[in-house]
Subunit: 408 residues, 2 copies
């Protein structure tokens, strides 16, 4: 057994917990869905609202450099994913950023018609690709294979390999570097969705030579519900395509009010409409927590938090029909642990009622995110104990429980 | 001359001014670019951050019905533009909403290839149309005519008439009803950008039978910098097109995580990614100010505020080369007044330095927005006096002025 208290005591990341607001009595294992509130956000928001907007009014665009926020926030995210300054902007939603880079990639590989993805991709990415292919009417094919068949499905028909690095249900992680390499060998471009990677594990877009990447601001980056997403374009592609979502903020001279679109140089062309300053300021403040943090340390702790949880669950909950869906090999998983679980929905409701917050994904998956910035090793043990208690008590067999726990 | 004090005393909208934070010593005539801070926003934001996000965490989506915000906010906007409940959602940016409705409209009129617009449209609408047409590669033509040539340019080649009702530079207002009628007579669909209309003047989408409309949350609706925009689709079109921006929030069952997109019934299909809860909550609170307000009263006061300003400027500033660009006929203008003005940039800088905030649009336009919720008739007079003073003093001839006023 581990000496949990000693692990927590020696944990170099432990002081970061104080930078988050975590409700009393809650063990929060859903930071892979919505990160908790950074303490510094309340002041920042009040300042943006009352001081910047309230006092500067329209002058805020210059006086507080609102106009530069997408780039400033983008650069902060870039540092977490191995992207050079000037290659990432924060903007819009992950879904919209997907269609920006997919249309760019399809334009760059106009001779090919296959978008290769897998059934473990987050559905909105697939939906956006379907919508784009439908609109283009150029006989594009969205080819879906099982996650473990991706490597063998990469061939010279593929225009774009479009994958989410870490599977939102199982936590299975693709080998971004190897898959990107194979895609490039057959002349395909790559789009990586880093929704469950950015802030969760080391990503090095420069080293992997990924062509495009997108990701989410409200999971491991703790930017708040519906925070702006981000988009990355590799430097050598940046000026080689005309954005199909060509809004004024991506124009070379937005305030010249020309009648004709001319894309801005570089990553700015991925911007479309007016940036949402309030939400983006929150993400900006949330990202300051990462200053000086080593992603290697984050990863080490994340794996250990998850390993302890898996061990504890396996020893405590045997016989309840749980099946681990997350690969145990460190290089094949992200920062979450998923089990298939009979009556998983009710089990998760009971856990949440006890203050242990994970989530449920159909048909029977209970999902736990391990986020090293604010979790303690003791939380892994307590969560496993809680799961054991819930599985043993079977409170959902009692009708008053179900009545109470209808939502979530 | 008007009895300004009496007008202000009798003004039924006067009490609304107290619902906004307006900095000391400022006359704010740029609410057509960015509305000022509603007083109630500070509390709402603090509550969304600290209570909803901070305490409810992921449960906020249900406990605080974040998931229903785009529709709730959409319905509040709908009441200001004559749109029935369930026909408007708040989402994304105006630019992105333009491309959603334009791709829908082009799909519904696939036999025609002309998008008719005018040179007074806000450039981002034109840019988005250019980007979409370029991506579709179906030989669409964006046909631009002068604003006063639109009527005669509506013919049977036109798939979509795409206009902004009120010109962002001149304040000239199109006749939405007549143009929509003419478009329908030749079998064209209509898209109206209400960026300078919603909250500025009475709009009745139902009566005009407009097919699609979009608009901005941060101008006359006071939703804060980069607030979510809105999108309207006429009921009979709603289920006749598949969205090209087909994200999970527009899916019939977002949380079923199907691999295939199926559009939601009704206006929900105009949603794409996760709604940005913080910014949308601010807009939600800002919209409460409109409860029980008559748009007829708003319009009456807006016209009178503008008329007084025009009269005062014309009598005070004669000989300084100002030329009124805004039509004086009430049914041909929106809620702003624009002059062409030699050295307009410097003039506006000097005005702003004196606390009279309008804005400048290239090449030589000084622009003043008249927003009846928080302006007083006395402000119209004081602003004209300020302009007179600035034009007389010519402070910009002194080098230390220019140095100080470089930005904005």
């Amino acid at each position: 057994m581990h000496d949990i208290a000693a692990l927590d005591e020696r944990d170099p990341l432990a002081p970061l917990r104080a930078r988050f607001h975590l409700p009393e009595g809650v063990i929060y294992l859903d930071g892979n869905s919505l990160g908790p509130l950074p303490v510094a956000v309340a002041d920042r928001v009040q300042s943006v609202v009352s001081k910047e907007w309230g006092e500067s009014l329209i002058k805020g665009w210059n006086d507080h450099d609102w106009i530069g926020l997408p780039q400033r926030v983008g650069n902060k995210i870039g540092r977490l994913i191995g992207a050079p300054a000037g290659s990432v902007v924060a903007a819009d939603s992950t879904s919209l950023n997907l269609v920006k880079v997919l249309s760019a990639a399809l334009g760059l590989r106009a001779d090919r018609k296959v978008i290769l993805s897998d059934t473990g991709n987050f559905p909105t990415d697939l939906y956006m690709a379907q919508g784009l292919a439908g609109a283009l009417e150029q006989d594009h094919e969205l080819r879906l294979v099982a996650p473990d068949e991706v490597t063998s499905a990469i061939d010279e028909s593929v225009a774009v390999l479009m994958l989410t690095e870490v599977d939102y249900r199982t936590g299975r992680k693709h080998d971004m570097k190897a898959l990107t390499k194979k895609a490039h060998e057959v002349g395909a471009l790559t789009i990586w969705d880093l929704a469950h990677s950015a802030g969760a594990l080391p990503v090095d877009l420069t080293a992997t030579q990924a062509d495009f990447a997108i990701g989410c601001g409200y999971k491991y980056l703790n930017g708040g519900p519906g925070a702006p997403a981000f988009v990355y374009v590799r430097a050598d592609h940046l000026n080689n395509f005309a954005p199909s979502l060509s809004g004024w903020m991506g124009h070379a001279e937005p305030f010249a009010f020309d009648l004709t679109y001319r894309p801005a140089e570089g990553i700015d062309r991925m911007l479309v409409g007016t940036p949402t300053i309030l939400s983006m300021s929150v993400l900006d403040t949330a990202l300051d927590i990462w200053d000086g943090i080593s992603m290697t340390q984050v990863r080490e702790k994340s794996l250990r938090l998850a390993d302890i949880f898996i061990e504890e669950v396996q020893s405590r909950c045997a016989g309840h029909g749980l099946e681990l869906l997350t690969p145990q090999e460190p290089d094949q998983r992200g920062s979450q642990v998923s089990f298939s679980c009979p009556e998983g929905y009710a089990v998760m409701q009971a856990l949440i009622a006890d203050g242990i917050i994970g989530d449920f994904r159909a048909p029977d998956i209970i999902r736990f995110g391990f986020t090293p910035l604010y979790l303690r090793y003791a939380d892994s043990v307590e969560a496993a104990k809680g799961l054991e208690r819930v599985l043993t008590e079977r409170r959902w067999d009692k009708p008053e429980f179900l009545k109470r726990a209808k939502v979530t």
